[in-house]
Subunit: 415 residues, 2 copies
């Protein structure tokens, strides 16, 4: 008889096989102050208790501080230089076309979820939006479905069907707080029904794009979350919570978006079509942010124009950094062939666009809040258990959350 | 008969003599989102109107983003490299002692307020805390008093007496929102009673250190401000509003302060007392921030230890930049002889301390919010008039607020 191995490996990292269910939650756009303010307002009593008895740390997410690169980093345990997903969207130079990067064909590393499934652990991943499902569920033996298309989940494709019946809720609107609530509700029900060894819950930042920390709507969202986290805890789960990225207001005091249109600036300097600006925030769901984030990449035709573009970009207001491909690949651990010749990061109140005509801001019914830059890199790393054996000098990343929950969280009391 | 000159000069800048009262307001710690959220919550109807018909810009404050360097920059129109005030507190190497920098003896440039007074304009400056009064009122022929010591104002020292009678309010507590309200109330009464040509109102950030933008307490403060601004506007004043610095949460998600104790780290590396850490945020009013900000300077004994200190500092978590004296003096336009051998800036969630034992955090009854770093450099520049003739490529500073209000604000309708 072969003993079950104690550790499961993925991408060069070893994870302890869980003795009780481990639930990792990625709260999209969770600037740490959302939690601080919700606790402060008294609407998150579970999180207050959880952080008193568990652990509260701050980690760095991946820059660009966007959803896809970070969710993929979290489920692979490695940065984009290894897994290849550097944005939601990129310019495929060989094919000469701009493409969404949510096809697993672009994935260069297996997920740890798949490794756990292959090792016989029972695994489930639930995402808010369907765009992430195919990446997170790549080659996963287990359950993987999205709230957005919960009614379409089949046993063949998602490892589960009749999700609406299980959760007892209708399919939520893709632009709503309900979409995230469905993820939590499904997680709680699935834990009751199947008790998976490892579960990953990933929400959407619809609320965070609209509401500042401590405002009534934000507090209501975190109060909702607090209730479900409490239910997961009550079922004995080890909970690790992090975020894909933070969130900042991207407006002046009057609430008007502060946008620097890079393609316009480069066209004026280099002539039309000399440089190509790519906004890796771009995805099919742009209503709440107008495809405006704080990170862009620029493709130039040659070294001379690249230098001219860099100079022109550095002279623009609201720009925090302009890096060459190699500088950006090294500093942010990105795949050099998946970014442009230049990487542009704007400051905490500024977003980057291409040309005014290419951004539909009509959906911005409240002052724009967004992300993508270095200013949204700090994210919470929270656990409902004390951690042990973590080097205090270690630079923690959001993609260490599985390592911390599986390898460093204390055994629950009484186990 | 000599014609009154149209312009008044100060520190190499020319300001148009005002045709109607000009009121410049410095809202201490006014991260732009405070105003955005107050407007959004519907509690600042005047500011909503003001920004619809006037101007809303974002400017850079001086780093260190502290009160004294920025208030002095605003009233001199020049950076600390010219006026010499680089912090609230500094280490006088020659005298070998650490001193408060609120003595006008440290001021290397006259204020534009004094220049206006000398040119026969009627000028008034009202500050919340008395610590600023002697700097702002240096050699000023005009009115200058603090809310904190409003009852002590004498005609001989402050150009005014019976302030409590004028304002109709008691002396407020130094740790209160009332202290700032007193400044606004006094400004409104003074404008009615004496109609000064130029007025400077400078508040305190007691509320901003405690409350996040959009929370009920913050909104109440901005609603209060909104009412007084509306009264100033109704009296025909041109209003320019800016901030000395922004404000960020300096905690983890649980609301615990994220402090890096630099003296402890340097003592461990270099031996005790080899390096001296100075926190220029230090002032006599530390209850609400525990003398914890995001900017520090370090004095080393020699070049070898300076290099060792720099290396040790760069390895610490939460550090955004470590600059040499010359790099910092150039980048932040500081007086090189008023800063240490190294300048340390921490990130938007982190503050810098000396040693744990030297900081009293018992006054932090709510999660710490503070400033001092690059992350608090963006401040509002708001006007109740459209601006004309401002180069869109110009890097705006908070200390351009008098230039913008006096030289670029449109004449009021009907004048």
């Amino acid at each position: 008889m072969t003993a079950t191995p104690t550790f499961i490996e993925a991408n060069g990292r070893r994870y302890a096989r869980p003795q009780q269910p481990v639930v990792v939650v990625c709260v999209d756009g969770c600037e740490p102050d959302y939690i601080t303010q919700a606790i402060q307002a008294g609407v998150a009593p579970y999180m207050a208790r959880m952080l008193e008895h568990g652990s509260s740390l701050i980690g760095d997410c991946v820059v660009p501080s966007f959803t896809n690169p970070n969710n993929v980093s979290i489920v692979t345990g490695v940065p984009p230089s290894v897994h290849g997903i550097c944005g939601n969207y990129f310019y495929d130079v060989e094919a000469d076309r701009e493409v969404m990067m949510n096809d697993p064909a672009y994935l260069r590393a297996p997920t740890l979820l798949a490794a756990f499934g292959d090792a016989g652990a029972s695994v489930a991943a639930i995402t808010a939006k369907d765009k992430l499902r195919t990446l997170l569920g790549h080659q996963l033996r287990g359950v993987c479905f999205s709230a957005e298309k919960a009614d379409k989940a089949t046993a063949a494709e998602c490892g589960i069907d009749k999700v609406l019946e299980l959760v007892g809720r209708p399919v939520p609107s893709v632009y709503s707080a309900d979409l995230s609530e469905f993820v939590f509700a499904a997680g709680v029900r699935l834990l009751q029904a199947r008790r998976p060894d490892l579960m990953y819950l990933s929400t959407t930042d619809y609320v965070q794009h609209k509401c500042a920390p401590g405002t009534p709507e934000a507090n209501a969202f975190y109060a909702m979350m607090d209730g479900y986290l409490s239910e997961l805890d009550a079922q004995g789960a080890v909970i690790g919570l992090t975020a894909d990225h933070g969130m900042s207001p991207k407006t002046d005091a009057a609430g008007r978006p502060r946008v620097v249109y890079l393609q316009e600036a480069l066209d004026a300097r280099l002539g039309a079509t000399a440089a190509r600006v790519i906004l890796p925030i771009t995805d099919p769901y742009v209503v709440h942010h107008g495809a405006l984030g704080s990170f862009a990449t620029v493709y130039a035709r040659n070294a001379v124009e690249r230098a001219q573009a860099r100079e022109a970009l550095l002279a623009l207001p609201g720009i925090e950094a302009v890096l060459t491909r190699d500088e950006a690949a090294q500093r942010f651990e990105l795949a050099a062939d998946r970014i442009g010749d230049l990487v542009v990061v704007s400051d905490h109140l500024t977003v980057l666009g291409t040309s005014a005509a290419r951004h539909d801001l009509s959906g911005l019914t409240v002052p724009l809040r967004s992300h993508g830059g270095i200013s949204e890199q700090k994210v919470p790393l929270l656990f409902n258990r004390p951690l042990h054996g973590v080097d205090p000098a270690r630079r923690l990343r959001n993609f260490d959350v599985f390592d911390l929950a599986l390898n460093h969280a204390s055994a629950p009391t009484g186990s």
